[in-house]
């Protein structure tokens, strides 16, 4: 039986009906990784023995109990900045190339308690910062839809693993949109939850007031299933909030009467026409299902980029101060005194873009510039937050593109600094939610002329994930699930 590109729900039913076994399932994904990863470069570590052992345990549970969780025996991948005890966790950096955590993140613990099976760790940009080709220690990730193209943030392995059928779902993180952009470029579902809804304990910080862990899945229902397990208060993260619920319940409720806002600032001339058309079709479909949509204006959207750049650089410079070469991380062999241990280890351990961001953040936080630049950015953040809140006084959700373009060719980005700047500029569609803490769901809504996926982003009020998933479900129903074809259709 072929389980290629099946959803969690479909696979779970096969497991419970004894049509397949959990070990067979894990072997399917391990084989897929072995076959495809050399070209896609999505996984940086695989845990074959542990995965087979965990799948045997899951099978015993299924054999002895009909009421196992939906995720029992389901194999998944984890972005390499989410700690798993005993498994190397690098954050894509030479600084942490030998780091093996002594504890697991809360999200991983919750999934393991639900008997989901860890396949391995997934590639990422160094400390989640976009960078040119030479920066990342593991290199670019290729797009399963067409290997000549990049996926989202150049090195985000999460979406490529799910889209390329190397994992049933993945855990990613989103500090400026990388989770949603990668999901959109690879034609899968990605959710950045409300800040605080999912524990960050065990997530290697980049920008602490904006980082959030979220699921990358093959369907909206799968996203709801994973969220139902990972959301909720955690005593180990004082910013987590006790708001979890069963996100699968009523997911097919329908969207009759839903009030949808379309911010015109997100649909300017820089957005690709095919993306605009695809989103328009999705809106028309929502209209036919009973939603009411109208154009609105959020003027402060044009300030998202400078505010996000200042705050994320400032927070990164502070967060990354912990890498001193002593307790963990790279230590320079050439250091002769304590000052050189710090300076040389950080010079050698961090890539170029990360060093640039640390220096930039240090500049923003210096006493001469703090008031003028950093506090001004925090005021703009308030202004953007107020504008979004005002928009939601009369609306239920907003829709936006995830990116102004579909995936780009890898040959167009190699070491190109201008392209890097362009990628930062494209964060304007996603980073506003990191600044405001609001949730955003991306769902595939079509393909462009080159058969590359286009995503639509649905934005909601704080803790409106249940509604976002209902809207996403309605869109998915009209578009259908996208997958890069069966077998070799697109060269996989």
């Amino acid at each position: 039986m072929s389980i290629l590109n099946m959803t969690i729900k479909e696979i779970s039913e096969l497991l419970k009906n004894r049509k397949i076994g959990t070990v067979e399932l894990v072997r399917h994904y391990l084989d897929s990784i072995r076959r495809q990863n050399p070209s896609l470069n999505s996984f940086v570590t695989t845990c074959e023995e542990d995965a087979l052992e965990a799948s045997e345990k899951a099978q015993k549970l299924i054999d002895s109990n009909d009421n196992t969780s939906l995720l029992c025996g389901i194999p998944f991948g984890i972005k390499d900045n989410i700690c798993v005890r005993g498994i190397r966790t690098t954050a894509g950096s030479k600084m942490l190339s030998d780091f093996v955590p002594a504890y697991s993140s809360t999200v991983v613990n919750r999934l393991v308690e639900a008997n989901a099976v860890i396949l391995g760790k997934l590639n990422m940009n160094e400390f989640s910062m976009k960078e040119s080709k030479e920066g990342n220690i593991f290199g670019f990730v290729r797009n399963p839809w067409n290997k000549e193209y990049a996926e989202g943030g150049l090195s985000e392995g999460t979406a490529a693993a799910v889209s390329g059928d190397m994992a049933c779902f993945a855990l990613g993180s989103d500090s400026g949109g990388e989770l949603r952009q990668a999901a959109s470029f690879c034609g899968v579902v990605g959710l950045k939850p409300t800040y605080g809804l999912v524990s960050r304990y065990g997530l290697i910080s980049s920008a602490s007031s904006m980082d959030q862990i979220g699921p990358v899945t093959r369907s909206v229902e799968d996203c709801a299933a994973v969220m139902s397990v990972i959301a909720g208060q955690d005593p180990l993260d004082s910013t987590s909030v006790g708001r979890s619920e069963n996100y699968l319940k009523d997911i097919d409720k329908g969207i009759k009467g839903l009030r949808v806002g379309v911010p015109k600032e997100f649909f300017g001339s820089e957005v690709n026409t095919e993306i605009k058309e695809s989103i328009s079709r999705a809106l028309e479909n929502l209209g036919q299902e009973g939603a009411i949509y109208k154009e609105i204006s959020i003027p402060s959207i044009k300030y998202i980029l400078p505010a996000h750049y200042i705050i994320s650089s400032a927070e990164a410079s502070s967060n990354l101060a912990r890498y001193d070469g002593i307790r963990f991380g790279h230590r320079s062999p050439d250091a002769r005194n304590i000052s050189e241990v710090y300076r040389f280890s950080r010079k050698e351990g961090f890539g170029r873009e990360v060093k640039q961001r640390i220096l930039t953040g240090t500049y923003f936080l210096s006493s001469e510039n703090r008031e003028r630049l950093y506090y001004k950015a925090l005021k703009i953040r308030r202004m953007i937050f107020n504008d979004f809140r005002k928009a939601f006084e009369n609306l239920d959700v907003l829709v936006a593109p995830v990116c102004p373009e579909v995936a780009c060719k890898l040959t167009d980005v190699s070491g190109d600094k201008d392209h890097l700047l362009k990628m930062h500029i494209s964060d304007v569609y996603t980073a506003g939610l990191n600044l405001t803490g609001l949730p955003g769901l991306t769902v595939p809504c079509g393909l462009d002329k080159n058969k590359l996926p286009i995503g639509i982003q649905i934005v909601g009020r704080e803790f409106s994930e249940k509604l976002l998933l209902q809207v996403g479900y309605a869109i998915e129903k009209t578009v259908g699930k996208l997958s890069p074809g069966e077998g070799d259709k697109y060269g996989i």
Partner: protein
């Protein structure tokens, strides 16, 4: 304000990253262009009385019970360090012996 090599070297010193003069020039040039863009954008916004927003409103910290728990994984923790000695982290002298 243009960021020159001298200022960049001072910033690198505060950030505890060793960089040479050529790198400093390169980083300074890049920082200059970023700051140029940002200052121009920020100047469009009037300095009103908005409260700076360091954290989103939903994030209200809560406290867990103040209980002693054991984290008996000393070997695993030390295993992440490059240099250890006698079960401790090992660093060069922090005081100049001369």
């Amino acid at each position: 304000m243009a960021v020159g090599k001298e200022l960049l070297l001072k910033i690198a010193d505060i950030a505890a990253i060793s960089i040479d003069e050529t790198e400093a020039e390169d980083y300074a040039k890049e920082l200059d262009s970023v700051i140029g863009y940002i200052e121009q954008k920020l100047s469009e916004i009037p300095d009103d009385d908005l409260e700076p927003m360091e954290h989103v409103l939903s994030a209200q910290s809560f406290f867990r019970a103040d209980e002693v728990t054991n984290f008996d994984r000393k070997a695993e923790l030390l295993g992440s360090a490059s240099v250890t000695k006698d079960g401790c982290h090992f660093v060069p002298s922090v005081v100049d012996p001369s």
